[in-house]
Point group: C2
Chain length 435, copies 2
């Protein structure tokens, strides 16, 4: 089948990321889709960058020429802003192109107009990357929750603000100082208004509100209150009372109507949402049948956002490629392209380990155990005597660094064979969740 | 357009829940899908129950007659088990029916055979409900992550085990005692082997592993180790060292091959996954472009699982209904069925509130503030004096119960008008995350 031909508008952070994902994971994408996705054309202000980032794509100085070009199947709008982006998206739709965009502002402010035209032209407009970056929350709301009446959505959907609030809490620093630090780290723009005053979160919760309750998009109805006036003292007092302060986008359906608002919010510290820190995003959805679900991940950044852009490209491509029978392969990859792999035996896996050894409480025991582990190539992260039992037996807890399990399986019987060791060794695997 | 006709096999917990969701949310589903979903036929051992739960469906004593019936578009298999369920699913596919199933055991053990036949017959087989109940993790893996190479999946995917481990940690109780309690609460079966020895989690991680890495389903390669031998002491020691013990399903792609295993695992307590408690499930996915994402929600129960079953029904129905242009409506609901709603002004919203008042540190101040709040119909959850500032000024922090915001907006200027109050009142909204 012929390749799906992408016309890419914009080579900023997300545009370059999209080109990178399409190139780096071309084989994986083709294994899933059964068809190649080709970056056919690109338009950006910087022609030299276009040639360097997408050497195989045709460069178009005029983006309007790109969106009208017969050799483009899907237009990917990553210019941002609303002036030219709106004209380009409408022109693409007018020309029968399917559109993928990450432009939350465009959709929150002009979504109704764009979707109306797209409906008349019978084209798809996908926007997973517009809300919460790499988290597939649009798909969860439009498809995963489709059997439910959604009751409320609450989201940490601006990474800049969440980073600032996390730092203010951890270090007790004032807002202005943390903002400066965020700017130095590249987490906040030179003009941070859009992020810290809630506009960005407002665009995102406005889009989610429409999806949840089946209303037109209405950014004008969204109350915006940012974090710039927050006093570190209130964050500290809230913490003393068992709460964390987060900038939330909130939308909720009540008998009186729809709430739609962005503001700093105290959350009970025991809740997962209260423990989403740094630049990470999370969205909590409450729905009548499934109850509470939560979606967590990177809300910004070149590759996470591009992951959502490319997922949308694949989504559209699957429908363009679908025969009557199916759209998504049963096992995610094309049946003819499944691979037989080697499944590791437990001897071959790599893990770190918790070991508990019961032994006579006398000199030399710890040393013998440490020697056995060292002899099997196992390095120790911590070795702690946990207390002495009634019968002069000690319990020793060991945390190991990562090692191949066969080393542990050889070490355990050697430890158990020590004269001073009086019970079978307890072994529990550990995961750092760092990979 | 004609209704999509469902043939339902089984009226146990999930089957009855599916009938309930289809009936209760029929209007919402039709607003999303643009087409009615009709429970046309049902087969279960108990004919009387069938008539009471699905009064409008035709009862079929013989399930094989149902899966062959020309008036059924989608067969929903909720019998469970592998003997008759396998024959029924294959017979349904053979007869060109699309299939939705929640049967993880069936797919983990016979998925390759079922998918092969389904591919030849060009029918869809959907199974969102088979893994992590109401969490749309299959959709996230097959579609949301489609631009990524998935590196690892780690999931708390057995609610019974997670409940037992959460209780063992919180109460320090031994395994046997907590299991008994879980059985009394209905969280564990009379014969709990399937849940506590890791079989159920093994079926689920096996399915996710195939989806992640593009391999045939291979339950035989899955290492299973349950929680029945865990000592409460090790849970306590782990906690003292900063770890929680969770039963995880783990699959990871390394240079050597694929790891596929279920066992108790120590996790650093600062991680979200370590803080998933009770019967809740969560799945953490690490992928090359998007990085870490996490999906949390109810992993079992009639309505959460039915939410996933019905989402699959809608997914298939959308494709059966799709014209060339689109499958999922732009704003989740059919364009003609969006509703204009009243968006609440901030005066109208309901919330609880954090207030900080700075006032002279003298008798009567707390009383006046409390009186003002009471006068505006605001009840106080906590009122705490947070310390005295240099200039004999005290800071008072108040947490209110839920109230309409206009009450707060009336109360604040009244508090600020008090002679002893010396600075603007700080107000931050609170959310309990209980709805």
């Amino acid at each position: 089948m012929q390749a799906i031909r992408i016309g890419l508008l914009g080579l900023g952070t997300v545009g370059s990321g999209t080109a990178e994902v399409l190139q780096k994971n071309a084989a994986e994408i083709s294994r899933r889709l059964g068809r190649e996705v080709r970056l056919a054309m690109v338009s950006s202000r910087d022609a030299a960058k276009a040639r360097s980032v997408c050497p195989d794509a045709q460069y178009m100085a005029d983006p309007f020429e790109l969106v009208r070009h017969p050799d483009v199947d899907i237009v990917v709008e990553l210019f941002g802003g609303t002036q030219i982006a709106k004209d380009l998206v409408l022109e693409a739709v007018e020309n029968g192109k399917h559109v993928v965009t990450a432009n939350k502002k465009l959709l929150a402010e002009y979504g109704n107009e764009i979707f109306a035209l797209a409906g008349r032209k019978n084209v798809m407009v996908q926007f997973e990357a517009a809300v919460a970056g790499g988290i597939p929350i649009i798909k969860a709301l439009r498809e995963g929750m489709s059997a439910n009446r959604i009751k409320s959505i609450m989201g940490i959907i601006n990474g800049t603000s969440n980073f600032i609030l996390s730092e203010m809490r951890e270090k007790g620093s004032p807002f202005a100082q943390v903002l400066k630090q965020a700017q130095e780290l590249g987490y906040a723009e030179a003009d941070p208004t859009f992020d810290i005053e809630g506009h960005d979160a407002g665009h995102k919760i406005t889009i989610m509100s429409a999806l949840a309750f089946g209303t037109p998009v209405n950014f004008g109805a969204c109350y915006l209150e940012g974090i710039s006036k927050l006093d570190a003292r209130d964050i500290r007092y809230a913490e003393e009372l068992g709460y964390r302060v987060k900038l939330l986008g909130i939308t909720r359906l009540s008998e009186k109507g729809v709430e739609l608002r962005v503001h700093p919010t105290l959350l009970p510290e025991c809740r997962l949402l209260a423990n989403v820190n740094g630049v990470m995003n999370a969205v909590r959805v409450n729905a009548d049948m499934v109850g509470e679900t939560l979606y967590y991940g990177a809300g910004a950044g070149a590759l996470p956002t591009a992951s959502a852009v490319v997922a949308d490209i694949i989504d559209i491509s699957r429908l363009l490629s679908a025969d009557s029978g199916h759209r998504v392969p049963y096992l995610a990859f094309q049946p003819g392209r499944l691979q037989e792999v080697h499944f590791l035996s437990m001897d071959e896996i790599t893990s770190s380990y918790y070991l508990r050894v019961q032994a006579a409480d006398k000199a030399g025991v710890l040393g013998s155990i440490a020697n056995i582990l060292a002899g099997e190539g196992i390095s120790i992260e911590a070795l702690i005597q946990k207390g002495v039992l009634d019968n002069n037996q000690a319990e020793i807890v060991i945390l190991t660094h990562s090692t191949v399990e066969q080393n542990i399986r050889r070490a355990i019987p050697r430890i158990e064979a020590e004269a001073s060791v009086s019970a079978p060794v307890v072994m529990i695997r550990m995961e750092s969740l760092n990979d």
